[in-house]
């Protein structure tokens, strides 16, 4: 028997409210499938399961608030036969349910297969249907103003912890963007609007490639030790229109083409604003990238999102006097890239080399 537990959905989340099950006993599920929707302080999140199996029993009812790690459901591993169930198993065919309860459930649009029966032999009673209906009405996602207040609290907790625990150091590098801009304009000129790239995609890919050489910027600081992660799961800071921000991950950015990074970025922003992020995207960013250049600032010095150990900030690309390779003075579009990094894990010397590597990648846009 497999146990499906509520996964952590970010370091600032220690509990969640189960809003909805997407599965019922007897369903076969595949690894990566969305099986439940859980409300966190930041957003309603689609929770994925991380193994294949057949749903045996749902242990938590929608509406309940449960801590991370709580067993939500039990599943049978592929090939496993059900042993003695904890509760009387529902009959294979028709569900035992009183006629009145069935009628009420139909009227309320409640799927009786998702209900745990409290009557004789596990039969679903009228009271069970009413309880489910009451729970459903109390398990709607938080209203916007509540959500904003909750999100503010979550950000406050994570950022206070960051500034309390992480000895940040900050570095910045001015990067000439002439080549990257020219390459991007040319690439986009030949593309339909549906396939167009944004500079943000180039920046994300360049960060991922620079991380391959400087892995001490990528991973988690947990239990007094740094745990590097090989893959670059880059958290993208996305501001919400009603206020607050969220930084879900694009996975394996270093392995993706620019087109794939762009497609994933567009999809992520859309889903973040629509409130349909997946648990894996919320839980595992290994570094965060923030871009405030669009708001007109020249540079941003960010606060690391624990347990991550670094944050890369991009400012506005702006024309500035620039000394070119031949020593001549020109005007060039310049981007200020910054690094906030955890001094427990890396030193300024390595941080500086990381930013230089990032700069070099942005000079070779055709290789990104």
């Amino acid at each position: 028997m497999l146990e499906f537990k509520l996964p952590s959905i970010g370091s600032d989340m220690d509990e969640g409210k189960l809003l909805e099950w997407k599965i019922k006993p007897g369903d076969r599920v595949k690894k990566g499938q969305v099986v439940a929707i859980v409300d966190t302080s930041k957003a309603a999140v689609d929770v994925e399961i991380w193994f294949d199996g057949t749903v045996h029993e749902l242990l938590i009812e929608p509406g309940a608030t449960i801590p991370v790690g709580t067993v939500l459901a039990t599943l049978l591993a592929p090939g496993e036969k059900a042993g003695a169930p904890a509760r009387p198993a529902p009959p294979a065919g028709r569900r035992k349910i009183s006629p009145a309860a069935r009628k009420r459930a139909e009227a309320l649009g409640i799927d009786v297969d998702t209900l745990a029966g409290s009557g004789p032999g596990g039969a679903v009673t009228l009271a069970d249907v009413d309880a489910a209906a009451a729970q459903r009405s109390s398990s709607k996602p938080a209203a916007t103003s509540d959500r904003q207040a909750e999100m503010r609290k979550a950000i406050a907790a994570a950022m206070s912890r960051s500034k309390r625990e992480i000895p940040h150091y900050y570095l910045a590098e001015a990067i000439a963007m002439e080549r990257a801009q020219a390459w991007l304009s040319e690439a986009n000129a030949g593309r339909p609007i549906t396939g167009r790239l944004l500079m943000a995609a180039l920046q994300l890919k360049a960060v991922a490639l620079a991380l391959q050489k400087y892995p001490e910027m990528n991973g988690f600081f947990r239990d007094s030790a740094f745990q590097p992660v090989a893959a670059a799961h880059i958290g993208v800071a996305i501001s919400m229109r009603q206020g607050g921000l969220i930084a879900p991950a694009i996975h394996d950015v270093g392995e993706k083409t620019l087109d794939e990074v762009m497609r994933d970025l567009a999809d992520l922003v859309k889903r973040a604003r629509a409130g349909s992020l997946k648990s894996s995207e919320m839980s595992d960013p290994t570094i965060t990238v923030t871009n405030l250049g669009e708001q007109g600032v020249e540079a941003v010095y960010g606060v690391i999102y624990p347990p991550q150990v670094a944050l890369v900030g991009f400012g506005r690309i702006t024309p500035r006097p620039w000394v070119d390779a031949a020593g001549g003075l020109t005007v060039a579009p310049v981007l200020t890239a910054s690094l906030a990094a955890d001094h427990r894990v890396s030193d300024g010397h390595r941080g500086a080399l990381f930013l230089a590597e990032l700069r070099d990648w942005l000079q070779q846009p055709e290789k990104l």
């Binding site: 549906t194 944004l198 970025l265 922003v269 669009e294």
Partner: protein, 81 residues
């Protein structure tokens, strides 16, 4: 499509991206991006939305012709079938 219909489509597309916008308060002769908080992803989605509804492909080189709402209406009006 009349200019009025076109204006409705453009505003509806904008509102789908920036729901907080009060359409009546928009100044049609002032730069759109100074009045509405649109980053480059929002801008691209705005143009994608117009592309879907009006079948007009807007090359990146033409972005400078779409600074104000009036600019956008003139540009699209000349191209929409």
């Amino acid at each position: 499509m009349t200019q009025d219909e076109l204006r409705k489509v453009v505003l509806a597309t904008l509102l789908s991206i920036a729901p907080e916008v009060e359409a009546d308060e928009l100044r049609a002769d002032k730069p759109l991006r100074n009045q509405v908080d649109l980053d480059s992803m929002d801008w691209l989605n705005f143009l994608l939305g117009l592309h879907e509804k009006l079948a007009v492909d807007i090359p990146e080189a033409d972005y400078a012709k779409l600074v104000t709402l009036n600019d956008a209406l003139a540009y699209l009006g000349a191209r929409v079938r």
